[in-house]
């Protein structure tokens, strides 16, 4: 009864003091959040309905930026296609690659920790270095791969110089740098109860059966996690294409974030860029919801 009375009256003075102290301690984060996340987030929504170039006062244009993006800007649809292509192929392939790599590295092989280090290494290489290394490897004239082909008297492969090959090449690089996802998978694989495999062995299951019916289902929560993180990254893919191809050749690697950045900081179109940012935000949210909805059908949670 006393507790009920207290609940009705709200906090006690001691609880208020604690709350104040707690808020005081987290105030640096709160301040940062409101200044650097909340305010810019809603400013961008405001500016998406304005003609705004960062230098002159914003002018209200209603939905004009959105209409322009969808109906007048021919580059937008190519950019959307490029991004969906990368997200649709690159991210699942990246997750599959990381999962398979983790599975291999989870087996009892000689020098396992060395291999784990080698496969994780690309994840800690800065993007600028990654771009330069792959530039040297894939270059059509002097790249290591093409130099080998040239040496063998074979025609070169224009990996990042051909519009048709540029996106797959970037996906290849993306797959190469899956160290983080691989480590997460590795931790999950080590957590799969041995007893399940032993029971399956007793039941006469072979390696494929165990992988298909035990390993994959037990790892589905982490597959979902890596997919969600991967898709968000995929939609915002910027650094590597910016450094490696600059959006070319012929706009083949002009991804959404590059296009957004170009509009904001090069074409002086911050209003349009804000609208692009909100479209991207909505797409990512919808995509994530869709993924979580679908997860009910394929993700297995052991605790349920």
């Amino acid at each position: 009864m006393a507790a009920l009375t207290q609940k009705r009256r709200g906090f006690t003075s001691a609880q208020w003091r604690d709350l104040r102290t707690g808020l005081f301690f987290i105030s640096p984060w709160l301040l940062g959040f409101f200044l650097w996340t909340f305010y810019p987030l809603f400013s961008s929504l405001y500016y998406s309905f304005h003609r705004y170039d960062l230098l002159r006062p914003a002018v209200w244009v209603g939905l004009k930026n959105y209409v322009e993006i969808f109906t007048k800007d021919p580059t937008f649809w190519q950019v959307a296609y490029n991004t969906v292509y990368f997200v649709g192929f690159g991210i699942p392939l990246g997750v599959i690659g990381a999962f398979l790599m983790a599975t291999l590295l989870n087996t009892e092989i000689k020098g396992r920790s060395v291999f784990r280090t080698i496969f994780f290494f690309p994840a800690i290489v800065p993007a600028i270095v990654t771009a330069m290394v792959w530039q040297y490897l894939l270059n059509v004239q002097y790249g290591a791969i093409n130099a080998f082909l040239q040496g063998a008297g074979l025609p070169v492969i224009p990996f990042i110089a051909n519009p048709g090959l540029a996106k797959p090449s970037l996906i290849l690089i993306h797959m190469w740098a899956q160290g983080n996802a691989m480590v997460i998978f590795l931790a999950t694989l080590q957590d799969v109860p041995r007893s399940l495999y032993e029971a399956a062995t007793v039941d006469g299951a072979n390696a494929w059966h165990k992988f298909r019916n035990i390993t994959i289902p037990m790892c589905t929560p982490v597959i979902l996690f890596n997919l969600v993180i991967g898709f968000i990254y995929g939609f915002q893919n910027f650094t590597l294409p910016w450094l490696l191809t600059g959006g070319g050749p012929n706009n083949a690697t002009e991804f959404y974030s590059l296009f957004l950045y170009r509009n904001a900081f090069i074409f002086f179109r911050m209003g349009k860029a804000s609208a692009l940012a909100w479209i991207l935000f909505i797409v990512i949210v919808l995509f994530t919801i869709l993924l979580f909805r679908s997860s009910r059908r394929w993700v297995y949670y052991g605790g349920e």
């Binding site: 003091r17 102290t21 005081f24 301690f25 640096p28 003609r51 170039d53 960062l54 230098l55 002159r56 002018v59 004009k64 322009e68 007048k72 021919p74 580059t75 530039q135 040297y136 270059n139 059509v140 004239q141 002097y142 093409n146 082909l149 040239q150 008297g153 074979l154 025609p155 070169v156 224009p158 990042i160 110089a161 051909n162 519009p163 070319g248 050749p249 012929n250 706009n251 170009r262 900081f265 090069i266 074409f267 002086f268 179109r269 349009k272």
Partner: protein, 461 residues
């Protein structure tokens, strides 16, 4: 459970005291630090007393490095600056400058940037009054086009010509590479058609069909530009005005533009667009004129800086450099085209010490400064007085530009279009669509016109 000994401080007291100490520390950390004591040996001391002015520019290399190191050591500049510190920032892209201007903390001056885009948005200081009282920056001191370029499309002067501002067009070629291809370097091409024949003769592939050497990339250097300071070569070569600055209208959906898309694209089709793109992706070849300096490309359209630029970095290539009139269409054979253009210093309203920066820009127009810049980077200003002191034969090929000053038939100046990077990006995109056969030249010209008009309307300038 044993009671904890009472040390006179409760948990709450401890938290309160700690938080107060933290808050105090935070406030102390946010307080601006005081100026270092005089004689403390800190290089920041003069800056704290006299302040700092900043000058950002897009050039890197020798201009940003050795040229400015030398300029800063001159007694003249030291005298102008007094106790003010001049900070220069080279290779400064458009994005950092835009964000600095938007944030209200722009540098005092900038060069080699989107000049007209800033002029059109009211963030620059009009320099008319300063110029009126200047002994150095006078109209009669400059080439006609150099002076004209410092104004916006409404006729307000916002820039002080400086650093680089001489003539823009010439067909630069490596006589040795031309000779090796069995061509006569003494009878260079005059038209695009003749250039294409040379291009085919010089371009080499290995047995597997891989590109080894290219005759001419018509979009390298000045051939591919669409910029405030450099103009738009297709418009110069085919002789049409692509932007009417008075009316704010575009004219790129025309037969000349169609011809330009087709003719210039043909050079890529011969080599193969992927091969050309691959050649550009090689380290060093992607830069302006880099493949010419690396002796991978034999011809290109470029300005007066090429002889010096190449000779300083690759003397063996520079020695073989020859220059003739930039190509024109066959029906205009014999027409000698030349163009003005160049750079200036612009001054931002929100910067505190623009007047001092103006004095620095006056210094950049002195013979002393021009000499340092020319000898270290090959840049020449559009200053008549200084140009008369230059040895035209110092770099092979340079004389062509000096001679062209009196012999050119048609002169052009860059259009005053404050939509720089968007226009250039569309030109790059559409020409690639044409030479990759994804779009006809006619459709590209129509699309170009449509995109420029649509963007112009959206900008609300």
């Amino acid at each position: 459970m044993a009671n904890l000994p009472n040390n006179g401080m409760s948990r709450r007291d401890f938290l309160r005291t700690t938080s107060m100490m933290l808050a105090g520390g935070l406030i102390a950390a946010c307080t601006p630090s005081s100026a270092p004591a005089a004689g403390g040996g800190s290089s920041a001391a003069p800056a704290a007393e006299g302040g700092t002015i900043q000058y950002w520019f897009g050039w890197g290399g020798n201009y940003a490095g050795v040229a400015w190191d030398t300029l800063k050591e001159t007694e003249t500049l030291k005298g102008i600056l007094g106790d003010v510190t001049l900070e220069t920032k080279g290779s400064s892209g458009g994005e950092p400058l835009l964000t600095a201007v938007a944030a209200g903390t722009p540098p005092e001056g900038a060069s080699n940037t989107q000049y007209l885009d800033y002029m059109a948005r009211g963030v620059l200081v009009p320099v008319g009054d300063w110029v009126d009282s200047s002994d150095t920056v006078k109209q009669e001191a400059y080439l006609e086009g150099t002076w004209k370029d410092a104004f916006d499309r409404e006729g307000v002067m916002y820039g002080v010509p400086a650093n680089e501002g001489y003539l823009r067009y010439g067909l630069v070629y490596n006589a040795e590479m031309v000779g090796e291809a069995g061509l006569d370097p003494d009878t260079p091409p005059e038209t695009w058609e003749e250039c294409l024949a040379w291009h085919e003769a010089i371009t080499k592939f290995d047995d597997a069909g891989n590109l080894i050497q290219v005759g001419m990339d018509p979009f390298d250097a000045m051939g591919g530009q669409l910029a405030i300071q450099d103009g738009f070569y297709p418009a110069v070569s085919w002789n049409f005005s692509w932007f009417d600055s008075d009316a704010g209208t575009f004219n790129v959906d025309n037969e000349m533009m169609v011809q330009a898309f087709n003719t210039m694209g043909e050079f890529y089709k011969i080599v193969g667009p992927d091969n050309m793109a691959g050649m550009r992706q090689v380290e060093g070849n992607g830069m302006w004129g880099g493949s010419y300096n690396n002796r991978v490309q034999a011809m290109m359209i470029d300005g007066y800086w090429r002889p010096g630029g190449t000779y300083i970095s690759q003397p063996e290539v520079g020695e073989n450099t020859r220059i003739t009139w930039a190509p024109v269409p066959t029906d205009r054979k014999g027409v000698k085209v030349q163009g003005y253009g160049g750079h200036y210093v612009i001054f931002f309203k929100d910067a505190p010490n623009t007047e001092k920066m103006f004095q620095v820009s006056e210094f950049l127009n002195s013979n002393e400064a021009c000499d340092i810049i020319f000898s270290n980077s090959g840049f020449l200003p559009g200053l008549l007085g200084y140009l008369s002191t230059v040895d035209e034969n110092i770099y092979p090929g340079l004389k062509f530009y000096f001679d062209s000053q009196d012999t050119a038939d048609e002169w052009s100046s860059p259009a005053r279009c404050p939509m720089t990077d968007f226009s250039r990006t569309q030109w790059n995109e559409l020409r690639e669509s044409v030479y990759r056969d994804e779009m006809t030249a006619e459709a590209a010209a129509t699309e170009f016109q449509s995109r420029l008009e649509s963007e112009w309307e959206a900008l609300g300038i």
